[in-house]
Amino acid sequence: MELILQNLISPVTLAFALGMIARWVRSDLEIPSAVYQGLSIYLLFAIGLKGGVSLSVTPVRELIAPAALTLVLGVLTPLSAFFFLRSLGKLGRTDAAATAAHYGSVSVVTFIAAIEAVKISGMASNGYLPALLAVLEVPGIIVGLLLARESKGAGMKAAIHDVITGKSIFLMVGGLVIGALCGPEKIAGVAPFFIAPFKGVLCIFLLELGMVAAGRIQDLKAAGFRLILLGCFLPLFHGSIATVCAVAVGMNPGGAAVFGAMVGSASYIAAPAAVRLALPKASPGIYLTLSLGVTFPFNLALGIPLFLYLAKNAPKFLS
């Protein structure tokens, strides 16, 4: 409970809430679209850089198990999401596949919120997590698109090209490579821009995200009760499994919790763009509402503290 409150009362989370309120009181607040795009570019590139730097100081051997686990879960979570969305959620093939692509990929902001929560809780984390984030971003989307079995051959190839060269992935991977090549000393020169103000920039970004999410929440009714439940169950299910596995492959408890939040999260930056292009018949009213309107706030409020709790106590169960 204490953990939950600690997590909720932070500038980042409150900025998200402020954005939602802005919509509800019908404020004329608006983040100009150019500014929003500028912020996105900044955040993705910065997170890549950070991950790259930490990669450059992590021995490869230490990385193998976590990276393998990430890949495996990146393939399994969209399958599991697809299964539940079809069976319990009663979605059609295309909508289920589109939504599964979102749950297979990852929400960068949830990841960052988890990192912060771990910092506040004082638990030890793992420096290479941003690299895993980049690894986790892509496969889920591709599996999701394959599940739709709609676009084949050239269409599928084009879709995969679009996902990989899409600006979100491109910037994050680009930042990762630059960070890894430069290492900590050379990145120090750009740290006052890319590292120190990062969390502040995130506040403004979340202000906008809150506004968008508030619009989405109005669509919840249309989505139906079953889907809302799934939007809470899927992150719990995927995230808990991921947390426990992470502890099992030797990650620090803090790192395992972040890993759980990552795997449990649903993308709302990279995946929607890819899905809109490749599966135009899938309804954004379903996949965006679930990922941004249900799963994201759920993780912020409940998911992250839970994964923290689990990570702290998993070692006992495991041994």
């Binding site: 679209s33 996105s40 989405r216 809109r276 135009p280």
Partner: protein
């Protein structure tokens, strides 16, 4: 000398920028102008994702090309994407710039 031509205007999702640029050029537009737009339509206000706002394409073309463009848009995009398109009559100077040498 002024020449009568057609102005095709298309408003669509930001994500389709590349595709509509190609569609216009393949169907006889010698060029086009894009402005960023925001909009509201029958599908309700769309969540603005990172793909940015709507785009508004304008192309000056021959009236045959205009029909061809509209047909292509209708066939490929109307069903699954947010697209609207309209045509109006305009007059230009230097008409040869827009329709290729053959059919001025």
């Amino acid at each position: 000398m002024k020449k009568k031509l057609s102005l095709v205007t298309i408003v669509t999702e930001g994500i389709l920028k590349e595709q509509f640029s190609e569609l216009l050029q393949e169907n006889g537009a010698s060029g086009f102008t894009i402005t960023r737009a925001e909009g509201q339509g029958s599908r309700g206000v769309r969540a603005r994702d990172w793909e940015g706002p709507n785009l508004r394409f304008e192309a000056i073309v021959s009236s045959a090309a205009a029909d061809q463009i509209l047909a292509a848009v209708e066939k490929k995009y109307f069903e699954s994407y947010s697209v609207i398109a309209w045509v109006s009559n305009v007059e230009v100077v230097r008409g040869e710039k827009f329709v290729g040498e053959e059919n001025v």
